[in-house]
């Protein structure tokens, strides 16, 4: 591997700060995003365990916190939601995996704008700090929900939190700027830096999913930024955009928020799908079923995602004549997703499947997402939603959609690309233990919440003892809480595995999974600049078990005739 030595020489020219802190190398930035996201995930997960404790054993002292009143409870719920969506899901799925795989998979040396990429991470990190700082300012952090609905979020008189909500808005704004810069980079990179032969129809699916995700992020975030500015002006400059008693319209916020908020679900879901779509063919040793169909479904889903937002507002007092078209569009959007899921299942059909940890997490994600998708059809229909809205059914539903794509797919991605990122192999045994614990406890935590919701249990009530009709639901909350604590503790094998493998793990070869995509043609970890010579791509990314081939994989750089490249 002489090509590697050449690139290694370039690597040594950078000092410590440029190499590890203010780095412009996409692989280092990917790791920085991963570290930040895992840390935030720990904080968000512990918050969930704490407010779940309050729900299971109301008014008992919460370990590490003390008695949790309604205000603290709402702060915890708000911060949990905000952290998990914006400071965990996006940095893992876009920041970490997008940054890691896009240049490697398209055969580029780095992102199109490496310094912009660095800025993207640092702006994001300042956003993290600002959001966490809101926890300690006088008046406390925002208790207004992760959706920040006005009037509640609009005036300090309604919550007692002045700087808390201001910093919440500011932290989110910084996060948006960070991912705006990142998104511009992703798209420009894929448009301009694909290597010879890497046509759009030879791109690995995850690259498609990443650029689709950032495209809808870029298109939908603008109106929310406009809304956030108006909300901040309402709070600090005395305007009344969202205050009904002064002529403003709180529904305007809901429109602006959900115009972004629904596409945001796909900003997260599509890269999560992309990870699974990358892993399934590798461990089934089969070409992806319906490669082009999946891409077209992604494109259709992206367009539809921009016109379904009002399904979050069926009970907000919108015109019923408006609810029906949004209901139809929402049901329609499940079609491309259903096709994608079927394509993934068909990829497995009669494959020679092996159950390594990345595959286990991908399959776990597929199964749990199915339940999330199916329950979404109930909520998408306006008539059913009037009963289910704002109940724990909704909570269970969106955890069943987001947890699979963020955590099951996220972990699948970590186990799959860890050798490429860190040059070491992870422990399979610990990985399997981690999967079993996560899968069991996740389902045990959220199936009870479907039941609470169907029984009419409303979300955002700090104690199930607050109303007589909710008291019978309290035992279900105990089950959910015990499982949540199990879920948090179930991450210990992962943390141990992650750290231990980095220190003492077996050295990884260039292509430990015998996969086809370009990142596996270079060393683990790849040198600065990735490719000593730009690779030439001759085929699509999923040529597994091709008839007549010596091996059951065919790297994207393998010549048309002759044998696949040795690794």
């Amino acid at each position: 591997m002489a090509q590697v030595a050449v690139a290694h020489a370039a690597e040594h020219e950078l000092g410590f700060w440029r190499k590890y802190v203010f780095a412009t190398d996409h692989k280092v930035i990917a790791k920085q995003y991963l570290w930040a996201a895992l840390l935030m995930a720990l904080i968000g997960g512990l918050m969930a365990a704490m407010f779940r404790w309050q729900l299971a054993w109301p008014d008992a002292s919460v370990p590490g916190w003390g008695p949790m009143g309604p205000q603290d409870y709402m702060v915890m719920v708000t911060m949990h939601g905000t952290i998990m969506v914006f400071f965990v899901a996006m940095p893992i799925l876009l920041g970490a995996f997008g940054n890691l795989v896009i240049p490697l998979m398209i055969g580029a040396g780095d992102m199109a704008f490496p310094r912009l990429n660095m800025a993207s991470f640092w702006v994001f990190l300042v956003g993290c700090v600002v959001l966490l700082a809101s926890l300690v300012v006088p008046g406390g952090a925002s208790p207004a929900g992760w959706t920040g609905y006005p009037p509640l979020s609009d005036k300090v008189e309604f919550t007692g939190s002045f700087w808390g909500i201001n910093l919440w808005i500011l932290g989110l704004a910084l996060e948006f700027v960070g991912f705006l810069l990142g998104g511009i980079n992703f798209l420009t990179t894929v448009v301009t830096l694909r290597t010879r032969g890497m046509t759009m129809w030879r791109l690995p699916l995850i690259v498609w999913q990443e650029i689709a995700a950032v495209a809808i992020f870029l298109l939908s975030v603008g109106p929310l930024v406009a809304g956030a500015i108006m909300l901040l002006l309402d709070r600090v400059a005395g305007t009344a955009f969202f205050l009904p008693h002064r002529g403003g319209d709180p529904l305007l916020w809901q429109h602006l928020f959900w115009f972004f908020g629904h596409p945001e679900v796909y900003v997260i879901a599509l890269p999560g799908f992309g990870i699974m779509q990358e892993i399934l063919p590798v461990f089934a040793r089969k070409p992806t079923f319906g490669y082009r169909t999946i891409i077209w479904c992604t494109v259709v889903a992206c367009f539809l995602s921009l016109i379904v937002w009002a399904h979050h507002m069926y009970v907000s007092g919108i015109d019923p004549r408006l609810a029906t078209p949004f209901s139809i569009a929402t049901i329609a959007i499940s079609i491309p997703f259903a096709i994608m899921i079927f394509a993934m299942i068909a990829t497995l059909w009669r494959g020679s499947i092996s159950f390594e940890t990345p595959m286990l997490f991908s399959l776990g994600g597929l199964v749990t997402f199915l339940l999330g998708g199916v329950t979404g059809i109930f909520l998408g229909s306006d008539t059913a939603d009037i009963y289910l809205h704002d109940s724990y059914f909704v909570v269970a539903h969106f955890h069943y959609t987001l947890f699979p794509v963020v955590f099951f797919a996220g972990f699948a991605g970590i186990y799959y690309w860890y050798p490429k990122m860190f040059g070491k192999l992870m422990s399979e045994t610990l990985g399997r233990v981690h999967f079993v614990l996560t899968f069991i406890f996740f389902n045990a935590a959220f199936i009870p919440l479907f039941m609470v919701g169907l029984a009419g249990g409303p979300r955002r009530i700090y104690s199930p003892m607050a109303y007589d009709l909710l008291k019978p639901l309290q035992p279900l909350h105990v089950v959910a809480t015990v499982a949540t604590i199990g879920l948090v503790l179930g991450q210990l094998p992962f943390i141990v595995n992650f750290v231990m493998s980095m220190l003492w793990g077996e050295k990884a070869a260039a292509n430990p999974w015998h996969a086809n995509t370009l990142e596996w043609t270079v060393d683990s970890p790849p040198p600065h600049g990735n490719f000593a010579h730009p690779p030439v791509v001759t085929r699509g990314p999923y040529d597994y078990s091709m008839p007549g081939a010596k091996d059951d994989w065919y790297p994207q750089t393998a010549p048309f005739s002759g044998q696949p490249q040795e690794t």
């Binding site: 975030v221 930024v225 002006l233 009344a240 600049g529 030439v536 010549p559």
Partner: protein
């Protein structure tokens, strides 16, 4: 479109290439899609607020300076032309290029200064952001646009400074073109916002 390859890293791609830089023009066009949606959000808020109000402009509120701002707008529109003029000169005459960019930035600065004067007059007449949706939407939309112009002026001054210090090599012109596209965006957006906010 794609000819038959020779094989992995082989043959004529022997010499190592440094990573290619991305194309700033593509980047700025993607960014402008986002910017367009941002202003669409503000305009939506404006239209919703206007539709929800009984009278627009409300009784007892000052009227906006339609003519004075139209006069002021001429400076901004002229800067769109001078920006184009600068790009015409970029290859043959870098001194001229740098001068035209400075003129463009200057015209933008004049626009901002006159806007500032108008704002002070309006505030004296009692049009405040806090006095109702009329003032709130006016200051938010016009203010958001003014901030964009200010940022773009700063970028143009940087470009002019760079061009003064050293000869810009060919790749840098893509960056300059990207800056120009951004400038045309803030210039081209203004007539739309003017028509919406001032003429309604």
């Amino acid at each position: 479109m794609y000819e038959k390859p020779i094989g992995l890293n082989g043959g004529r791609y022997a010499e190592a290439e440094s990573p290619k830089p991305g194309d700033p023009v593509v980047g700025v066009l993607i960014f402008l899609a986002s910017e367009t949606m941002f202003f669409a959000g503000l305009v939506t808020a404006f239209l919703v607020s206007r539709a929800a109000s009984l009278d627009w402009p409300p009784l007892g509120q000052p009227r906006l300076p339609v003519l004075a701002t139209a006069f002021n707008s001429a400076f901004l529109l002229a800067s769109g032309f001078t920006m184009w003029r600068a790009l015409q000169d970029r290859r043959c005459d870098q001194a001229n290029f740098q001068r035209w960019v400075a003129v463009t930035a200057g015209l933008g600065a004049i626009f901002l200064a006159l806007q500032g004067v108008e704002w002070i007059r309006l505030l004296r007449f009692g049009l405040k952001a806090s006095s109702g949706l009329y003032g709130a939407t006016f200051y938010t939309i016009v203010g958001a646009h003014a901030l964009h112009v200010a940022a773009a002026v700063a970028v143009l001054l940087l470009v002019a400074l760079r061009a003064r210090q050293r000869h810009l090599a060919d790749p840098a012109w893509r960056g300059v073109t990207a800056c120009a596209i951004y400038w045309w965006f803030v210039v081209g957006l203004w007539p739309i916002l003017y028509a919406l906010v001032y003429l309604s």
